[in-house]
Amino acid sequence: MTERIPIVQIGKCLVVTLQGDLHDQLALTLQDDLSALVVKHSARCVLLDISALYMVDSFIARMLSDISGILKILDAQTIVVGMQPAVAITLVELGLTLSGIKTALNAELGMAMLRKMEALEGVAGDDDPE
């Protein structure tokens, strides 16, 4: 059986907590599962909690970036929350700035940010607020 990362639905949001050791195939499976679930539940936002990851290498960084890009096309906002300071320092030194990925310090602030984006969209109708 394929190992899978659990995805929780809260309202129009999907919440994923990444834990322990994320091997490459698991990361790719997550990308497929999230895309399918966003479409299935018409989800508008995805919150990826990475506070339990002790390292993010270029493969995982690319997966985060790809997920964010794919979900954006599917009209859902992705926010990555809880990155450890040591992981952020290492990523930048590695040469990755994760541009294009929205981040927040923790899950609570991340949810608040997603709600704000949702509210802005409500006022502006279907147009992108940017």
Binding site: D21, H23, Y54, D57, F59, Q84, A86, T90, L94, G95
Partner: protein, 134 residues
């Protein structure tokens, strides 16, 4: 310089990449590396291990704990017998990749370690060595 501890691990599958991360993490913790230094070494190991598995067709990693009083360090050598790298200069360019990665593995690992060296012979394989001192 003396070598106080030495071991080797096979690098063949994706699971081995995870295993080397865990091993390097444990070793750097035991050596008393700061959290940032632990993270840098684990990340560099992950990048190079993936190179060995994906581009080198598998190989092994040698882990040595070094003592050069009063410093202690961890040296990792990633060895494969794959196709080798014809142009190391090109391979050491940020963003250059022969596969479908981000092209940050080698240059990133170099930035994350204190000492870095690479030897490669086309047709015979590649050895990448990194060391980080506490």
């Amino acid at each position: 310089m003396t070598m106080t501890q030495s071991k080797s691990l096979a690098l063949v599958s994706e699971q081995d990449i995870v295993r080397i991360r865990q091993t390097v993490r444990k070793l750097t913790q035991e050596l008393g590396f700061s959290l940032v230094d632990q993270t840098k070494m684990v990340t560099a190991a992950s990048e190079l291990a993936r190179n060995t598995v994906v581009y080198g067709g598998g190989g092994e990693v040698l882990l040595d704990v070094l003592t050069e009083s009063p410093k202690t360090g961890l040296r990792l050598q990633f060895v494969d017998h794959g196709p080798g790298i014809p142009d190391i200069g090109l391979a050491m360019t940020d963003g250059w990749t022969s596969g479908n990665g981000l092209g940050l593995g080698l240059t990133g690992a170099k930035r994350l370690s204190n000492e870095f060296s690479i030897e490669s012979e086309p047709g015979h394989g590649t050895r990448v060595t990194i060391t980080r001192w506490k």
